[in-house]
Amino acid sequence: MHALSAHLKRKKGNFSLDIEVDFFRGITGVFGPSGAGKTTLMHLLVGLEKPDEGFLQIDDILLVDTVKNINEPARNRKIGYVFQEGRLFPHMTVRKNLLFATKYVPKGKQVIEFAELVNLLELNNLLEKRPKQLSGGEKQRVAIGRALLSSPKLLLMDEPFSSLDVKLRRQIIPYLIKINRKFNIPMLVVSHDLPDLLSLTRELFLLKNGRVLGHGNYLDLIEQENMFDVMRGAGLMNVLQFKVDAHDKENGLSILTNKDASQEISIEREMVSDCCQIGDEINVSLRPEDISLTLERIPNISIRNQLPGTIMKIIEKDNRIYCLVDVGFKLLVSITHASLLKMELTKGKQVWCLFKSMALQTNI
Amino acid sequence: SSGDKSKNSISVFAAASVTNVMTEIAGEFKNETGIRIQLNFASSGILARQIESGAGFDYYVSASKEWMDYLDSMQLVNRNSISSIAGNRMVAIVPIENKELFIDSVSIVNFPDLFKGRISIGDPAHVPAGKYAQQIMSSNSWEVKLAKRILPAKNVRDALFMVEMGEVEMGMVYSSDAQKSKKVRTVYEFAVADCDPILYYGAGKIKSDENLKAFLTFLEGDKAKLIWKRNGFKIN
């Protein structure tokens, strides 16, 4: 079932947006350069702007249709929205800001618990403060919390992590994934930070100049030249799905196995601590720069993961080479032109992909 | 309004210039009869227009014949009850600081030359005292000389105030008012013949009742007359 499908047109000054979308129930990352129209799209979805033309349907309910003259007001759309600029109510304490929406949630329909949320977002000491007394990052956390407590059917977040330090980011991202899974709330997350996005989801929606550049699985997207270009600057990333197979406590490692491949891959345990138990499915991300290619297996090296595979595609961009290697699943590897020449790499060649377990990032 | 609300009271609409008299009369009347008088003070014109708009009143005291006739023409007052209840005189006044000027029946002929600056009178357009002042000017042929020097005030009281303030060197007001003020000095009392008779008119409402009759009786009595006199009015 489509969580959301829409075709929206909107002109603002010399900027025009014309977008057709279908979002599924998971988390979709909305990505695009500054001024691409990401915030405008969010405003159209949430009902703060009206499209000049088009329709919007969420959970098969028609919310907007310019032909039929339907335009459901924002408050009935049940879409949680974290504004890029926060917009906390300045006259209310943090507690009241957080609880603002709970009045409008029918009894028993409140999906997220206040206490749990406050703990997770580390807001305990801030509850009686007013927005003016908060730091930038504190404000952002409150804004995320406020949207979550409105028990939305769909959650939109515009750059929700921009003022959060890495520690908090790492803490909130798995939580969002959990909320998405547990309550089946689809999410759209706007970010200019591709690695952040990819640690949330592999489903990407690419925008540029008000047009859809691409939409779909990250790995499928990067195979297309024009999208590859857009994403490259933002930091490409391999995102892989694994199952936790065993914990090697002595060495501090978790043994993960990939669903598709039968390869055993060791992954550092520290990152996964509480969240993953044996049998859990987890997402792991890995930068193309962190993978090395060799022609044979290398002993005596601190690189513990060494996977044999076949080069499927060689993409040449400026002086940088990207190899798509099939090691049971697809891996994007970036190497220099010099290495390409020296190792005489060609499509179809057998290679080993080496990466440190350290380089793997888990996002649940 | 008030007239029919509480049985034992009557409502008197009175021109602002008789504020003191009517307040004292109301006090005495209450002592004597136990009937309370609700007083409504404003300019005669405003009171007339209020009555015209349906204001409930029992007795109306006007400083001008015109407004009384206006109400009479609309049959809002009992024609038989219309009567002049008191008179007044016009006087010339100067600020108390002015100790030099004295006017007698001879020098009054050159009245316009006896003072410099402006003269305050009620606005002849609508203030009765102003109209009398103008009549006095024209019957003495001072009009031309004074035309540019007149400062019209919105009522007699303000005309007096201008003299008190020293904004003008001369004023023409009622003797009743001049007598009350410690900041002005009366320099001349104009002849009765110089203007229309200066009279206050009173009239009752169309449907008379016991309370109103009692009040009319009291007005004609000696006590009321004494109050008028004490306040500088003339009773014939």
Binding site: R75 | T19, L39, N40
Partner: protein
């Protein structure tokens, strides 16, 4: 009037009445002014400046004229007043209620303007945020815009109160100058001024009005400060 600080009965009643009229006027004007202010601030529609002009009429008209218009409308022979009198047997003019109404009409444009101004200056983004959280237009107005516009609301209240304290022209025409019933401080003052030699009494009444004014300002200043600090 031997003792300068002992008020006569008439004076006391004028003071009490003035205070009561002003308070009622401010209390009654407030909700209407908030509604109108919000409407003018947030909606844009054809003929808006017509409505604006209409709301501001009592400001532009001399109060005496306003009083006459009120008398023509609500007097017991007036356009509307005659029906009220016929159907309910109520006379409005020349009563305490008339004094409150006259004050209200005259204060209304002042209150609306203050409130409208402050609502206009509240970032509509907050209302938008409230709506995405499920609040209706009315709820987001009450829970978000209104508290943020509080300085203007208080200002509107104080303006109505103060303007009512000073109201003379419309009241003397529409409510009359009836001691104990409609004779507020300005009207009592008028009576005293009519009689030479009553200056001291007039001054005392003036003083009371001034003290009232200062009190109202202090209280509102204090409220705004206290409420504002929290924002």
């Amino acid at each position: 009037m031997e003792n300068w600080f002992v008020f006569s009965e008439t004076e006391m009643s004028a003071i009490g009445l003035s205070f009561k009229v002003a308070l009622w006027c401010a209390i009654l004007v407030l909700p209407m002014a908030i509604l109108t202010g919000w409407w003018l601030a947030r909606k844009s529609f054809r003929g808006k400046s017509l409505i604006e002009g209409f709301v501001n009429l009592p400001l532009v008209l001399p109060p005496v004229a306003t009083g006459f218009v009120l008398l023509l409308l609500l007097g017991s022979k007036g356009l509307i007043g005659q029906f009220i009198y016929e159907w309910f047997g109520i006379r409005i003019a020349f009563t305490y209620y008339a004094a409150v109404i006259a004050s209200m009409i005259v204060s209304f444009p002042l209150a609306v303007r203050a409130i409208r101004l402050s609502i206009e200056m509240v970032d509509p983004g907050f209302e938008e945020a409230a709506k995405t959280l499920g609040a209706s237009t009315f709820q987001s107005f009450v829970r978000v815009t209104l508290p943020l516009a509080l300085p203007g609301i208080i200002s509107g209240f104080v303006l109505s109160f103060a303007r009512s304290l000073g109201e003379f022209g419309a009241t003397i025409i529409f409510a009359g100058n009836i001691s104990g019933e409609t004779q507020t401080i300005p009207l009592a003052l008028f009576n005293q001024i009519q009689v030479p030699g009553m200056e001291s009494s007039a001054f005392r009444l003036l003083l009371v009005a001034v003290v009232f004014s200062f009190l109202a300002m202090s209280v509102s200043e204090y409220l705004v400060k206290k409420l504002y600090k929290r924002i």
